[in-house]
Symmetry: D2
Subunit: 341 residues, 4 copies
């Protein structure tokens, strides 16, 4: 059994890590920390875990040493505490944003503060199994991407790698309310947020930097909060080369994802479920990716969707753990999602 | 023009008062107070009023004297400030709970504190036009009922008055999230409240005391938060006399509501819209009331619905104002609601 | 491996059976029928199963013989075809309503037609593991209750059995839209059904007959469609004996459910998750049951919740299969539900 | 009083026309037709009109002559019947798509059939008061744009006219379920549509042709169904000239919309309501338009929102009527929308 700890376990990503890890046959959840709730039972804030665990939250200073530690901790704070975390575990899987961007200038530009541990940046492997599986097998430091970033990276990298995209990419991202976290403010009260179409980041959303880094292409992103608790959907547009047609593009995705357990290419000519929709992905570790071509014009529209707390966070992190520890990659992540939902 | 002020105008009931009063041809909104936002434009927190008003919030101590003042102020505080409010206006229309219950013991039992102004209780007329229209014509102090209470009173009083109900009434109330107000806590975050079926008051909800007072019958009430921003629906059950049949009951409602502008009896044998549903009432001042009888058994199920911020609050208060000042009763309250919505 | 077939697999209950059975390590799904879609891939209508199955629907007349067969078939039709189904499989698990009610008069009263196979009624064991586990171990014919009925039976039977309830029970049931099935009519279009509080059965809902049968007490039920796709919540009220207090009631539930894997007693004094809420149960096989007592009065309010397609249908049926075939009872049913959701 | 008839009055646009016209002080609704429901009361399908009208639907052949007639009739059929409609009324206001596009080739390209009345195309004035007010004053034939098209035209024309946009425009449109109409099929059942993020038109949505025609620029549009009943929001992107900065753009909008009663420019630096959101526009005739600039890059993101059934249909049509008949332009259209909602 892999002995793990979850830091920041009272939040939504933390809770999702607990849900998956408690159901994981190869893992023992040895500790779950919360600054505010230490001493309290885990199922008080994560009521879906009633009857599944008797764990109580502990304070951070009660941690000792683990095979792996998951960090569901705030941006900007995580980097200052990272040296400490690294001493606590053989493998550190970081879900904060602090070790996602390789260039400190980019970090500063998007997060507004200088990076506190630039020397560690290079030691982290990006937690994208579909792109970095081999490196992840031996990785002791893994940095998982943001929810929208992961959806964008999986949507775009196959086309970028194949050289099919020319010029910049625009991304229109839609996200549910759980992305704002369990401590969101009054702007996320139900009466304000319900049914909203809230353009909260018309430009310069932080996740665009991660997509730009992974694709090597300029990315402009807009983010809108839509009516959903879970779920991210991206509509990406790009000009493509003259050579790119439906077959080329489908081949690029198939080459990358033909054997992937958690990426499905969803692009049908008709039917109710033609393109990726986050509605059917809640709780699952799938990222669905689809595309459509403008008839007679060199443009592609790529659509991707995932559950922001699973493939956009906790599930992706556990997939990395499985790879790192040599377990079957889908262990603990078999839930396929619900329909209707 | 009737010169009015709204105290507590930054909240949801306050905003709804502003919406209705600003569109009211016989009213001038002279002041709107907010403790936190004085100096700020009203349309900053009530974005639906953009382009409709240039009003800014003021502090309470900037009020002078008005024809009428509306109090959208907290329970327990309102009663201590009431003497001051009474000096500010010829007519005071109170939307807090503090002057709804006639007996101080009942108040203390449900609100947990002694009443601070018991001598004023008798001076307030209940703000239920359908029951107290004549008294309201000359009333200078009006206390508007709570949202669920008003729905229950309008549903039950005709049957209680007609002596058709025997024994206690049970009320199952469902309510949207706006009832919790603009300052609701983290339990009302969208991610927590969305899609919830939250039994927040299994027994002893405060509004049951108002219904018991109005009907003279024992009432047991359960309150559940459902997925909606606006809207209250009540399902009430009672044993009825042997004489009570569909015709008797329909007659009791018709006698009370046949000429009422804002109460509709909705009880059909079939169709999509057989019974009252708050879904189509958002923004309107209607309270729909319907009923069904158990075949062969002396029981009635009464269903009522309204928009908690309108007929359950601000709209009802403006209807009282219209009566008090001799205006056509529907002035400013003509919006019929939307379908679909 | 248990070889199973699902009849009526294109509907919502059928799809949920497929989801659970495909992920079940002891089961092989050998056939899935659909009248309309035979020849088409299963994941066309159940897109959550993409990448999990290559099964296609077949016609009913292509079935041969199976260890077990699940019937997600319409009421009234199932009873006429039952002799045929019984020849197809060692174990028949029926999710239609046709073999739930023991008395043919009751069936006729609620379903409007005479029962077509009264001689078979006694041969079916009710699919309620919590009440009939021993009989289910040897049962070849199992009839699973309706979604709201199951929630009511699990809520009420422990108190009824313990003799704590006096007199009739009233049940206020709320249900999501998936209960109307994949072939629901235009009254279930999103624009009509979204945000609705639709009292579609003010009296005489069919499920009340199942609750009355299981508790031996008179039950009056009202059913309201609320904004949700999945989920049923019941608020039940009953007068109780003078001896019944919180301890007695809790003891009655503990005696029945202390060791049950899928029933949790949820009744807290405070907190966000005091009582059962279907919101956190989507996809899970839990039925949560809670209660509250009126201070100083002999009344209980019992609240229960479940996912209508899982513990209210497909999951419960698979739990019965596990019992019948001697597998660990939770096999294939481990998904705990999501929070937030 | 202007005597009007509504053709196709049982649908959602038809119902919204009735809601507005019945509340309009200068209009008498003399007839409302429905093919399926003639003889039935209007408030049976439009329950929000209970108590507001006793009108019943009539068959089309019962119409005689009216001051104005509104056509909420299907695309492709309307053009064949237009000669007949023109004989029925002095002024025809068409809400179908058939007379929106000036070029028959474009119509055929987007609607798949040749235009049946090309000779009439030039006789229709586009129903966009903000652009064609003077022509509308004398117009007897008015063609109102589609919901998303109107939102796009109002968002983009000021910038296009001012020559600030260079190159093509991409539009990401999100729409609620009422846009699919009251006869939508099973793909719009609540269980399927609720919470969906359904990209139903990745390319070539018909409304893009209307935007291209109005702006004179190439438009690429993607349309996604989101969780809402009413509401359309567009996120439009375009490259802009080097000269275009925040001041220039704001000036372009102010020049066009400074005196418009129903277009508000909503573009704030911070706050909950920074950009247009359809959530607060239900029932109102506003179109809100906002924009954001990429720091240091010649790109603009324009956001617009409206209620698809009001400013995207019925309300806009009534605004045209008011202009045509010399009434104050806001008559009958004063409802400001609700917050929260």
């Amino acid at each position: 059994m892999i002995r793990v700890a979850v830091v920041g376990a009272a939040g939504y990503i933390g809770g999702e890590l607990l849900r998956i890890l408690i159901g994981h046959p190869g893992v023992e959840v040895a500790a779950a920390t919360s600054r505010q709730l230490h001493g309290r039972p885990v199922d008080g804030v994560h009521p879906n875990l009633r009857g599944r665990t008797r764990l109580t939250f502990c304070a951070l200073d009660r941690l000792d040493h683990y095979d792996a530690i998951f960090l569901a901790t705030p941006h900007r704070e995580t980097m200052t505490q990272m040296p400490e975390f690294l001493r606590m575990a053989g493998t550190v899987i970081d879900l904060s944003a602090d070790f996602r961007l390789r260039r400190t200038e980019t970090y500063e530009q998007y997060y507004g503060v200088p990076h506190a541990a630039p020397q560690l940046l290079e030691t982290f492997v990006p937690g994208v199994p579909e792109l970095h599986r081999d490196r992840l097998r031996g990785a002791d430091r893994i940095s998982v991407h943001g929810c929208m970033a992961n959806a964008g990276i999986l949507a775009l990298v196959p086309l970028a790698e194949a050289g099919l995209i020319t010029g910049e990419i625009t991304v229109d991202a839609r996200t549910g309310s759980s992305g704002a976290g369990a401590r969101a403010g009054s702007e996320n009260l139900h009466a304000e947020r319900s049914g909203a179409l809230r353009v909260f980041a018309p430009t310069r959303h932080r996740h665009e930097a991660e997509m730009a880094q992974a694709t090597g292409l300029p990315v402009r992103m807009t983010a809108t909060g839509v009516e959903a608790v879970r779920g991210v959907q991206l509509v990406c547009r790009a000009a493509i080369t003259d050579a790119a047609d439906e077959r080329t593009i489908r081949a690029a995705y198939r080459a990358r994802y033909g054997k992937e357990p958690f990426v499905r290419v969803v692009a049908h000519r008709r039917g109710l479920h033609r393109f990726p929709d986050a509605k059917i992905l809640s709780g699952s570790n799938f990222c669905d990716v689809g595309f459509a071509l403008e008839p007679g014009a060199p443009h592609v529209t790529v659509i991707s969707a995932l559950d922001n707390l699973v493939k956009g966070g906790a599930g992706n992190a556990v997939q990395c753990l499985n790879i790192r520890f040599g377990l079957p990659e889908t262990t603990g992540l078999e839930f396929p999602g619900l329909h209707p939902n």
